[in-house]
């Protein structure tokens, strides 16, 4: 494996982490969007709020991580992606701003109409952001982003594949969030909410599976190179992803959600690595290979050293955060509890 391949693997680790953690985060926002009126949705919203409040910023740091790795290790690909996919990425960035500030301000606002407006901003942008990120990913897979960049501003991401992948990202986010929330509801001892999210996990899981299957069909005509990869070298990963996804659904139906979370994560991660394996050795199929796009070797070495340092520092801290969060040692101050 060359240094460039290792750097690509680092990028893929970051993408996987963002897809799972960021996805769960967006998904929670999506369920917020469809939870109904302020009265009816209050309990579900409260659970989601408690689930994401302390961790959402850390989850989104993975996005910054990915952007930094991409522009440092593969500056040429970064330039090409950013010039071609200017519109969807700008819209995704807009979604991130609205989402983060809507969420943060909602916590402080007390008047119902303010909370409602800010909550709607947060929830609606939870829909926008994964969708546009999905279209960007789909456009890359479909070979719409060519080395050198400057591709079509609209045509590049409005084809069938990009739009379908956008929908897939939204459905997948909703699914993984619902799976996580079933567990959170159960831990909080709220069986009604657990059932509520279990039904939603099943529905969104079925939708995600259907969209993924449809995606394969579309790729067959739109992005032959990636399709061929997915059905040959990457086939084991695709199968693994399908098996994990189905197993998650079966466990949810039987209401034994013990291993649902790792299985759902497995389904996500497997399909992402499947995508990577399918388009290997290309970074931008089929015009830019990983080796061609890679930065100078001194830079890659510096980046990998930084990455190792990051793993040593960040992973234990993240583990601490998540374990404190799971053990319910993190909570809002007394203000919210007061009448």
């Amino acid at each position: 494996m060359s240094e460039a391949d290792i750097a690509a693997a680092v990028l893929w680790i970051g993408v996987s982490a963002y897809a799972v953690l960021g996805g769960a985060d967006f998904g929670a926002g999506l369920w917020d969007l469809v939870a109904g009126g302020a009265e009816r949705g209050a309990r579900a919203r409260d659970l989601m709020d408690r689930a994401i409040t302390p961790v959402w910023e850390a989850n989104h740091t993975w996005l910054i991580f990915n952007l930094v790795v991409l522009w440092t290790a593969f500056p040429e690909a970064f330039g090409a992606i950013m010039t071609t996919l200017f519109v969807p990425l700008m819209l995704a960035a807009l979604g991130i701003v609205l989402r983060g500030s809507g969420f943060a301000f909602r916590h402080v606002a007390r008047r119902l109409e303010h909370r409602r407006l800010l909550g709607a901003t947060f929830a609606f942008s939870s829909l926008l952001t994964p969708f546009f990120m999905g279209t960007a990913a789909g456009a890359i897979a479909a070979g719409e982003v060519e080395a050198g960049g400057g591709g079509e501003q609209f045509g590049s991401w409005t084809g069938t594949t990009p739009l379908l992948v956008g929908a897939l990202f939204v459905a997948g986010s909703a699914f993984i969030a619902a799976v996580f929330l079933v567990r959170d509801a159960r831990r909080a001892g709220d069986e009604v909410l657990a059932g509520y999210f279990r039904r939603r996990a099943l529905a969104s899981g079925a939708l995600t599976g259907a969209l993924a299957a449809a995606g394969l069909v579309v790729l067959h005509s739109d992005a032959r190179f990636v399709y061929d990869g997915l059905t040959s070298e990457a086939l084991p990963l695709v199968v693994l992803s399908g098996v994990c996804g189905l197993a998650t659904l079966v466990l949810l139906i039987r209401d034994t959600p013990r291993f649902t979370r790792p299985l759902a994560v497995g389904a996500f991660v497997a399909v992402i690595w499947g995508w990577g394996a399918a388009q290997y050795p290309y970074l931008l199929p089929t015009s830019l290979k990983i080796d061609q796009a890679a930065a100078a070797s001194e830079t890659l070495v510096a980046l990998l050293i930084v990455f190792v340092a990051a793993v040593l520092l960040v992973v234990p801290s993240l583990a601490l955060l998540f374990s404190l969060h799971q053990r319910a040692l993190l909570g809002e101050g007394s203000e919210r509890d007061e009448p």
Binding site: E57, A58, T61, A296, A310, V314, G331, D337
Partner: protein
């Protein structure tokens, strides 16, 4: 981009320095069993949560914008300075993690454990600021790479990139600025509160802690800033010439205070003969290079803007220095604040003034480098995106950031109003007994 950065820089300052101020209050609260100090730390951590969230999203957008607006710049030089952002990424990651633990750990972690989860925030703030500012100083004084004949980058030497000549003064200058901004800003909020008659111990302490931090940073900042200006006179001659209205190279350059540059002459300035030369190297015979040393298309636009921005920054810095000295003298003699309300009024202005100075400093370093994005290597116009819709997205960004700015201020005011309504008797002990020992305690 300029706008997003100008907005983000203020939030970043709070992110870098606010945790330290909060932890000082926290430390005092635990060590001396001071309930007001603990209450302050708890309130500040709430405000920090709002500011950090907004800072995090504007920071994320910036990393997008880097690519969206400057694709050619990133494409060519991303591999030179990118790893600095990777380092910053680690610090930011740790910051996001520990800020969550700190903010949400008040009631359930033991006091000292909770205090220590805040300490990484201070370290990460310093580290993160240092690595990002190192990128900016690299843009001002690029080093650590070789340009091949075809203009592509070869032979990257990461250490030299990180410790380029400008890092030595830009990094401390920015970090001190962050401590000044955060300190004077927070202090000004409490100064206003005291002027409105809320002269309880909480407000006094809420003023004293941040103000002392800022007052200590100020004299160091003046010294560092002076060093920086001298280094710029040597290494970024055209920027310096524009800052100081030096048209032609020569000795015995006068120093202009204020004034505008129109039609080839300086108008309305106070002119002090020889002082500029003297400031650059302590002798009126010092040769200062003027902007006529380079062709017109390699000079920054509007010397007036640069000069006035520079003068404003230095002026505000000096005024704050006087304020800090006033405070220090009175405190040393009486262990109390100066009695007159004029001191509080000045301190209340100090908060806004530091932000003005911060933005002025940023104008000096960025506009002063134009037309270059990488000093004498790459022009800004060659780096910018070719995508359409730039103006539209600019307009959208202006509207959006205005809304977020208003939102952040409203959110902080809502917090402050709530605290005020609670009144002093509601100052509860943040480290309540943990649920297990607390028995029936529901708060």
């Amino acid at each position: 981009m300029a706008l997003t950065l100008g907005f983000h820089i203020v939030l970043a300052c709070m992110g870098v320095a606010f945790p330290a101020i909060t932890l000082i209050a926290n430390y005092r609260g635990i060590k001396k069993g001071d309930p007001e100090a603990l209450e302050l730390a708890r309130r500040w951590s709430k405000a920090m949560a709002v500011l950090f969230a907004v800072g995090a999203v504007t920071g994320t957008v910036l990393s997008f914008e880097m690519g969206l607006l400057w694709p050619r710049f990133m494409e060519r030089f991303g591999d030179v300075f990118g790893f600095l952002f990777a380092i910053e990424g680690i610090f930011f990651f740790l910051e996001a993690i520990f800020i969550a633990i700190y903010i949400y750990g008040w009631n359930r972690l033991s006091p000292w454990a909770h205090f220590w989860t805040g300490v990484p925030l201070v370290v990460c703030g310093l580290g993160g600021a240092a690595s990002v500012v190192a990128v900016n100083s690299w843009m001002n004084e690029p080093a650590g790479f070789t340009l091949a004949a075809d203009g592509s980058v070869a032979d990257v030497r990461p250490w030299e990139v990180m410790f380029n000549p400008a890092t030595a003064y830009e990094v401390p200058h920015m970090i001190l600025a962050a401590y000044m901004v955060a300190g004077f800003m927070v202090a000004s909020v409490y100064a206003v509160g005291m002027l409105r008659g809320r002269r309880d111990r909480l407000h006094k302490l809420g003023f004293l802690i941040p103000f002392t931090v800022a007052a200590i940073a100020t004299p160091i900042q003046l010294f560092v800033g002076d060093t920086a200006a001298r280094a710029i006179a040597k290494d970024q001659t055209v920027k310096f010439a524009s800052m100081e209205y030096v048209e032609k190279t020569g000795t015995h350059q006068p120093e202009y205070l204020g004034g505008v540059y129109v039609d080839g002459e300086v108008r309305g300035a106070i002119k002090i003969p020889d002082l500029d030369s003297f400031l650059v190297d302590f002798s009126a015979d010092t040769n200062v290079i003027g902007w006529e040393s380079v062709p017109a298309d390699e000079r920054p636009p509007s010397p007036t803007l640069l000069h006035l921005a520079f003068d404003t920054m230095v002026g505000i810095g000096s005024a704050l220095m006087l304020l800090a000295v006033w405070f220090a003298v009175v405190w040393w003699r009486r262990r109390d604040l100066p009695r007159t309300d004029w001191f509080l009024r000045a301190a209340a202005l100090g908060g806004v003034a530091t932000i003005v100075a911060l933005e002025c400093g940023w104008i000096v370093t960025e506009v002063g480098r134009q037309p270059w994005i990488v000093h004498e290597v790459m022009r800004t116009e060659d780096a910018v995106t070719t995508a359409d819709g730039i103006w539209f997205s600019l307009a959208a960004v202006v509207v959006l950031y205005t809304l977020i700015g208003i939102g952040a201020v409203l959110a902080l005011r809502a917090l402050s109003r709530r605290w005020r309504e609670q009144g002093v008797e509601a100052v509860d002990v943040p480290y309540g007994p943990p649920p297990a020992e607390g028995g029936g305690d529901s708060a």
